[in-house]
Symmetry: none
Subunit: 229 residues, 4 copies
DNA sequence: CATGAATGAGGGTTCATTCAT
DNA sequence: GATGAATGAACCCTCATTCAT
């Protein structure tokens, strides 16, 4: 009821909060601009001065938010990783056979790799990073590979996926997915959902166990169902 | 027949010939060294001085064979393109339905992308090139995309491939194939042939038309066969 | 006796006084921290940000007490100079022959150069200062040189010091004393008093005129001998 | 006799030799210019661009001879060390009692510290160097200290030097000697020899053991007296 | 008073490329 | 044809200092 109440209550903290938020927003703006330019032009062909210019600040101002150009890159990878990690974790903890989860992984991957931070893993070169960060990024990449392999192996076990070399199959799928980063921006007519669905089916149909007569009735249904979404 | 004969025959030009050959061999050596180092370390992280060093020559000596670092890169792309072009042309001119040719394209692509020059298209960044060369490289890339799309479309027409979006399907396949360049060197246990065969089948089975009863007898056999290997 | 008494007495001016004192104390704290870090790391390798950090304040806060980094340095020299000036003046005004006063100067110098501000003259580089301040500092240094020379000359006159080049002798002594700043912190086992006494004797014994007839015969010989070399 | 003979004889080597000499001369010129400017202005206040300017070359040209600014500094120390090392070694291996050798060390030190490279140890700050080089320089400095201490201790043993704390005495002498670097350039009227001789005598007379019985009675008294203070 | 943010002025280093020999 | 040397253009990063809040 009393107007200043809220003000009084939050008074001691507000400045801090506001400051921090403003700061975080700026830091974020730097990252968003940087990732766009890195993706567009390439990391090493993007001087920080240009990034700063487009943000209407000066080059050293960036150093209020990051310790080095490399740290910006590292942070971009980290943000990408958070997305992958969250999505993959959710899928892994959910119910479903190997094939289903594999398709979910594909859908998730498509949704992430079509975002700026998601694209970093596919389009930026982790050799620009120092030893430690590079190791971290590569660990993430291996973790994604593994996520796919695990579901493929699970699918083979539970009969939802035909026998194959899980490692190679995972490489093929991830390769196809990473490739999206190369053409997505330029082929604007397709929605992310459409791409996700198409890849989820196209990349797995070939892996799905061939419909035995018994299964031949069920599989088409599943396919039809998933196609609806 | 006699060993020196050839020498005698070419005698007047021999110096020229020899010179030119020696020159070409050196030029070639530069390219081979350069591509390896570019692939290993990245183009812009590979100073020409290091390339020269490993060849036991000096940096300016490189300028006897190439006008610029960029020209080296350009030439590498060109050599890669020659391979793709030759293989693709041969396949396109051959007999067979869409599915067959698609598989042949995949096999050819695997064989080329596992070579140094073939890897350039997938692992080097054409944005390092100047306007003209970049345009040329991108035309090549589009041409490969098109090659795959055409066979997919042909396969859809001739019934060997199930209905799908040829552009997306081609992107998926090429993405999977380009991905090979990311892991091939590190996963040494697999032969190129094995990879080629696995990818040719794995990436197409899902695209192949659903086995009619007539076909359903044949397809499993093929699958079984490939599994044995 | 009662705690608040002092507070009550100064009551009307207390805020001002307190303020000023608080301010001076802070200014002082800055100087004490700065001198320690300048001596430890070197002036130009000590960013103000680090000084501020260790004081748990922020960099621009320093500018409330000093107009520039250079002013801090200048002030440090000034504080050192006050000490030298006070001690030297006291000695010069006291009684005693040249040798005695020379020894007193040495003792005083040791006591001052083993303090932080005293060390500034020996360990910091006055070329970091601007024209005016640098001139001032150099005037101080010359003044110290002169103080030593004057007593040496006086000693020569009054017979307490043997004939020698006063300028060179003063340089030697001051050099030896300044050198203390290079090792004092690291050779913790010696008390300032011990060092002062040792230097006062060691650096002058050779300069002192032979006190007795017995000596007057021996000393020239030694000198003659060593001169032969 | 034949003019070109020499030319022919040295022919195959001359280019190499000439090249190498020219290169070494230039490298040397860089070092000589650098040391002068470093001593004059201070290391960190001397941009490489200015050094290059005075040599009529451009900044990056310096990188043909040195890998970094720090390496130049390091090399300067090394050249200084060579001089000290050579002189000290010669003296240590020679004949003579402690006092004699101590005086020789002093003379040598004066001769070296009045040269540009010799001055580096006294006037440049080894904290500008990286870990390794700094350690090396400090080892050198300790070695010089030790050289003096050893002779003082030897002199005490052989009776040529009166009992005293060798460490402190060495510090005092080296301090006095290093101080020369602070005033030598500016006090041009004195020859190096004169300074060397004056310091050799002035700094040791006080340390020399009283030569005669006559003195042995007087000296303790003086010491006792001054100790009362 | 104190703070976060921003700036301007450099400085060291790298590297493709050119040139005289 | 090859070399050593040199250059110019960038680029990253640091830091003292200022300013609005």
């Amino acid at each position: 009821m009393i107007a200043p109440k809220k003000r009084i209550e939050t008074s001691p903290w507000a400045p801090f909060e506001d400051r921090r938020r403003a700061r975080d927003e700026k830091r974020d703006a730097v990252l968003r601009m940087a990732v766009r330019m890195f993706l567009e032009e390439g990391y090493h062909r993007t001087p920080l001065a240009k990034v700063a210019d487009r943000l209407n600040i000066t080059k050293p101002a960036l150093y209020n938010y990051f310790r080095s150009k490399e740290e910006i890159l590292h942070e971009l990878y980290r943000r990408g990783d958070e997305q992958y990690e969250a999505s993959f974790g959710r899928i892994e903890r959910a119910e479903g056979d190997g094939l289903h989860k594999l398709r979910e992984l594909i859908r998730a991957y498509v949704h992430i790799i079509t975002t700026d931070s998601g694209m970093c893993f596919a389009r930026l070169d982790d050799r620009e990073l120092g030893e430690d960060a590079r190791t971290e990024v590569r660990r993430s990449k291996r973790r994604y590979d593994t996520a796919f392999r695990v579901q493929i192996a699970a699918g083979i076990d539970d009969g939802s996926i035909r026998t194959c070399n899980p490692k190679l199959a995972a490489f093929a799928i991830i390769g196809a997915l990473n490739g999206i980063a190369d053409w997505y921006r330029l082929e604007g007519e397709l929605s992310v959902e459409a791409i996700a669905e198409e890849f989820a089916l196209r990349l797995t149909d070939g892996l799905a166990a061939p419909p035995s007569r018994a299964r031949s009735a069920a599989a088409p249904k599943a396919a039809a169902k998933s196609r609806k979404r």
